[in-house]
Symmetry: C2
Subunit: 339 residues, 2 copies
Amino acid sequence: MEVDEVVCLPRLSRVAVCGGTHGNELSGVYLVRELLKARKEAMEKKKEEEEEEEPASVLMVLSNPRATQHCRRYVDADLNRCFTHATLNGPVSDMAPYEMVRARELNTLLGPKGSGEAVDLVCDLHNTTANMGLCLIAYSDCDWICLHIFRHLQRQMPDVPMRFIHFDVSRKESYSLDSVGKHGFAMEIGPQPHGVVRSNIYTAMKDGVQHMLDWIHSFNSGTTFEGGFVDVFTMVKHIDYPRDGQTHDITAAIHPELQDRDFCLLHPEDALFQTFSGETLRYKGIEPLFPFFVNECAYYEKGIALSLARKRHVMIPAVRVQTEAEQQTDEQGFASEEE
Amino acid sequence: MEVDEVVCLPRLSRVAVCGGTHGNELSGVYLVRELLKARKEAMEKKKEEEEEEEPASVLMVLSNPRATQHCRRYVDADLNRCFTHATLNGPVSDMAPYEMVRARELNTLLGPKGSGEAVDLVCDLHNTTANMGLCLIAYSDCDWICLHIFRHLQRQMPDVPMRFIHFDVSRKESYSLDSVGKHGFAMEIGPQPHGVVRSNIYTAMKDGVQHMLDWIHSFNSGTTFEGGFVDVFTMVKHIDYPRDGQTHDITAAIHPELQDRDFCLLHPEDALFQTFSGETLRYKGIEPLFPFFVNECAYYEKGIALSLARKRHVMIPAVRVQTEAEQQTDEQGFASEEE
């Protein structure tokens, strides 16, 4: 690969790892608590030794402490839908849902979203009841930092099924906590029931976060990462459960042939649902697509039984961190753009 | 088998099938709704045809509609701990938890517990996040009706792992809804995340309930069921998670070697927990025992990481329904005992 093909990107100086954005998704809750505890112990130890320079400042955040305390997804409203431009910047009353207030606090801490002061990367930890393995979920299919981190995790954790999911939503409309950083993604791991912590899922998340931090350290230290290809699953549409016209109750469950088969291609006429009286309902789309978030607990109330994605092979360029001189030129450019 | 070895038991005239005692255990919720719908349709059809005699009256009950509406285990208190003699008969104020009031309503509908007016059998439908297959859970290891139904289900559903669990608690201290009937058990099926319905688990529950009703029909019709042996798992003790002394937060998860291994014998020094920092904690008991309810979501708050049982081989006698003459003699005996 020639040198002029290497894309030079700003240093990732400030990184946030967030857990408990949904208070009953426990891997992130216990991982962030563990990382905070380990850091505290390390700092106490370090006082007695020499000071070391941190390669990047890593902020650990428990996003929704009130929901976590009750082991519920949220108290008043889904926090991870509160980070749109409109919600963060609209009027807020004394009667505002707890999560709307908390979203503004987090935006102050980690953002403001869209500004130069925002942290460089937000990694928001989630669990799903769907059999999705480890997924990075992002709003961009050309954020080279996110895609390089993804490829690094894939290589370092070959035993964990891993996918990159792309929600094609504009920055302004993007609604989740990870959208507050300059770069960001959700790290979503399953299957795990909400309110439960499974050792294998916890360990996968712990390893994923560690490999991400290792990559960032290596990137900041000047390593050049070669280009290549990654598969990106772009969300196309959601499918709701069949429901009773009057009560709106669901009348069918995910079909046993589809259950746990996230990312296995769904073809027209494949079994989709099994009604509670035993009838099979089939997929009536005309295009084969990849199902994911199949039977995710939290999406019953959102009217999503599964989502469908198209898979693409995306080329990512080689990347390295900008030199100080490059960064200064870049900042001057940024400043003059602002004027 | 000789005739004089057959135990003659009263007819099971009134049976209750209850779902949604825990509002987020969805198989029972959707099954009871489906059975109610099917019955309504059958009755509308029957009006046009001849009247048939019902072999037994089956009452379908949605036990905790308010918790079901919110898809939560309970609103104020765990309904399935509200059926002790003390709670059902103690004073109740205007400020009483919803579930305490609802428990009294259910006791009026299906009981009163311990009286001659109580329904003959309560089958209460539950789900667990633990890998327990289908379990019948009862307070007696010598209730021949429950044990015969269990053996019938085992024979009819050979592909479903099935166990009979015995909680050695007195009738007065028994706390769950199924204790209101003259006979009763919980039908507990997993693994299924709470708030989710999985087709395979729903179908196992539907089949289990149907085979139970078939057995009751057959019993009431005069069939003699031969005696034999069944395995009974008697609960010995619960084990809590390791917890932080100050915060009371858990500091470990079920060890990956134990996760999903319900009813696989746990030996002294076997791996029990993995701490969040990666350390393995081992089982320090001196007796090998059978783990169950391993990592059940709802038991984190009850301080139960798993339960342990001893297995016994229990002989059950042949049974048949009492003739009308036998029943009258029995009732006279009951009446004279009361005097």
